[in-house]
């Protein structure tokens, strides 16, 4: 009941400001200025640990230990401990890989694409979402690594001169995937770290113990808020956003090529790259919502991650969900229109075959459940959005399960048809990967600046002086000498 009452009071404040149609709700609510924003965000890293953090960390660490135990068991025994068989050779590991790498996409969308589109509301949630991207990519990278079976040979994926006189096959989508995912992980990490440098400096300057000063100081690189530095920093941020935008679209496209360039019915389709990218953003936003709704509650960030942020994310989730729903239906149309016997069989087999329950679960979670977000009444209740976001995560996992398993389990030869059933190792490994994800995320919440303070300050009214915020609000006075106006510094 208490949770309902908080969700009921929130919109009233929000409605108050939203009632005037020409006014948008401010991005930072409450009576905040630079001081209070800094205090709110740094307090968590430097002083106070909410009790819920310990509870959540204990659960996450238990799940992480499940992952470590199952991986150890896999490595000492062999890949036979999984449910993968000759027919369904890509089981849970690849389903989990595609699921996790997709989750990451929302972070880059928020940090790069929304930045280029000047969507200022991203500032409250982008640090969060970028961190989530990196941890999701860590979870994703784990699965192909252990899927090769002999993990001690995983370095064979990298191109390097070797005594075998062998090189990777550069025309294979599997190698494209190696390059795409490793580049994505690296660039996301750089982007996240670079954006965090000014905030790490804030933490350094507010640390009270020598150890904290040193720890934050090393990573803050001596940042001191110089505007000569900010000039190049902002340009670097813009350039990285421009580089990350095509990169994020390429990553899930390349993941979809792993399927689309094969001859398998149900996989061999040109709609896969945009369909996968939309699905990735859809699932990723659902994960950002799942993380940010409890986090803003527990860590007292409701003025910075406002209802408007939650509602905007819900709208993006609805929009990308509609693209995904469209892609599902186009797949059926293409199968029918192709007049291709095997293609048609696969698409009859999905809703009506032995895995009908997985298909309909996917449709319920990804297509039907998000439709509730059309309603303003629903969008004002964050815990309903939270529930829908969880359903979307479940649905997106099942989408990958449907794609991988239903296409493989009944192929061209009925004699090789087989069913796939996961073993306990499969199930615990999936569960354990959430442990890895949440452990990393909780460590981030506790020790790093959870909200991009410097960026939030730029969208506050105090950051714009007495001018309205426009790009051209500075007019040099006419009696300033020309060479001074042009500047002395070749920066």
């Amino acid at each position: 009941m208490s949770t309902i009452s908080t969700t009921m009071t929130e919109p009233s404040q929000w409605e108050l400001q939203a009632n005037h149609p020409s006014e948008r709700v401010p991005l930072v609510l409450g009576d905040n200025d630079f001081t209070t924003v800094t205090d709110t965000v740094t307090e968590l890293a430097l002083r106070r640990t909410p009790p819920m953090w310990y509870v959540a960390m204990a659960i996450s660490l238990s799940l992480l230990s499940v992952l470590l135990v199952t991986i150890t068991y896999l490595l000492v025994t062999g890949v036979g401990v999984w449910g993968n068989n000759n027919t369904v050779s890509w089981g849970f590991p690849i389903v989990n890989f595609v699921f996790w790498v997709g989750i990451g996409h929302a972070g880059t969308l928020i940090s790069a694409i929304l930045f280029l589109l000047r969507q200022n509301w991203r500032t409250g949630i982008n640090r969060f979402a970028e961190a989530m991207t990196i941890f999701a990519v860590v979870c994703a990278g784990l699965f192909p690594g252990i899927h090769v079976g002999r993990i001690w040979y995983a370095y064979w994926l990298a191109p390097y001169p070797n005594e075998l006189a062998m090189w990777p096959q550069a025309r294979s989508p599997l190698l494209w995937d190696v390059f795409a995912v490793s580049t994505y992980a690296t660039v996301s990490l750089l982007f996240w770290y670079m954006g965090m440098i000014p905030d790490l400096a804030t933490l350094r300057d507010r640390s009270t113990t020598r150890i904290k000063q040193l720890a934050y100081g090393v990573f803050a690189l001596g940042w001191n808020g110089s505007n000569r530095h900010w000039l190049r920093f902002e340009k670097a941020y813009l350039l990285l956003a421009a580089l990350a935008t095509p990169l994020v679209l390429s990553v899930h496209s390349v993941v979809s090529f792993d399927f689309a360039t094969s001859q398998v019915p149900g996989w061999h389709t040109t709609i896969f790259p945009p369909y996968f990218v939309a699905g990735a953003v859809f699932g990723g936003f659902a994960m950002v919502l799942v993380l940010s709704i409890p986090a803003r509650e527990w860590f007292g960030l409701k003025d910075l991650i406002t209802h408007r942020h939650i509602e905007n994310m819900a709208k993006v989730m609805l929009g990308t969900g509609m693209i995904v729903a469209y892609a599902y239906s186009v797949e059926f149309f293409t199968a029918w229109y192709s007049q291709h016997h095997y293609e048609q069989f696969v698409f009859m087999n999905r809703p009506l075959g032995p895995y009908w329950w997985a298909f309909w679960l996917m449709v319920f979670c990804n297509v039907i459940a998000p439709q509730a977000l059309w309603s303003t009444w629903v969008r004002k209740r964050v815990w309903i959005i939270f529930a829908i976001a969880i359903l979307v995560n479940v649905g997106m996992w099942f989408e990958r399960f449907v794609i991988v398993v239903t296409s493989l389990h009944r192929d061209y030869l009925p004699s090789s048809w087989a069913m796939f059933s996961p073993t306990w190792v499969d199930l615990f490994m999936l569960l354990g990967s959430f442990g890895l994800f949440f452990t990393l995320f909780l460590l981030f919440c506790r020790f790093l600046p959870m909200v991009a303070m410097a960026e939030v300050k730029t969208v506050m009214p105090q950051a714009h002086g007495d001018h309205p915020p426009t790009r051209f609000d500075y007019q040099p006075s006419p009696d300033t000498p020309e060479e001074l106006r042009r500047g002395h510094w070749f920066t």
Partner: protein
């Protein structure tokens, strides 16, 4: 203590518009080695300070081009070359896949694209840090308790003692006229 030279004069402000107008005056006074420190980037400050655009985009472009050439060279060398007499460990390996050509540009584009982005992104970060001379291991300004708020909620104008117009007396008086919250002399270490 007495033999220490001043390092800089710092003036503290608490509003963006105050620091903007002050910066214009410091610029017009002809100071060269000075800076505005703030917890977030200030829009319009580049013109108010008289700063030129950065060359960083060219660094990014150069790294991107190197990355593209690297990716092209890598895919070509790996799968489409055999150089007689070369040591086998660096020799390319001509994969024959269904009789397709060993080198075909479209099939290699994904890898070339990824190396381009990778090199350009690393070049952008290192270029930004390099141009800013970061990491900065030591900064005399950090001695000032007041200045620590430059990364939280205050804005500072710092005029270096190295500037040729700098004079402890007149610069102090000049800063006084900008009506800051406080003025502090920071000594050399």
């Amino acid at each position: 203590m007495t033999d220490k030279q001043p390092y800089a004069l710092i003036a503290e402000f608490d509003s963006v518009s105050a620091v903007m107008h002050a910066a214009e005056q410091v610029r017009d006074e002809g100071y060269m080695i000075w800076d505005v420190h703030s917890p977030m980037p200030i829009h319009g400050i580049n013109q108010a300070m008289g700063l030129r655009p950065t060359i960083l985009p060219w660094i990014t472009l150069a790294h991107g081009v190197v990355g593209a050439v690297f990716g092209l060279g890598l895919t070509w060398w790996m799968n489409a070359t055999t150089v007689p007499g070369l040591s086998p460990s660096v020799q390319g390996y001509e994969f024959l896949i269904s009789g397709k050509p060993t080198f075909s540009l479209p099939a290699n584009i994904p890898i070339i694209f990824e190396t381009t982005i990778l090199f350009a992104a690393i070049g952008t970060l290192l270029g930004m840090l390099g141009l800013n001379k970061l990491p900065m291991l030591h900064n005399p300004l950090a001695k000032s308790e007041r200045f620590l708020r430059a990364t939280a909620d205050r804005l500072f104008i710092v005029i270096s003692a190295k500037d040729e117009h700098f004079d402890s007396e007149t610069t102090h008086q000049f800063l006084q006229r900008l009506s800051p919250l406080s003025i502090e002399v920071v000594m050399e270490d």
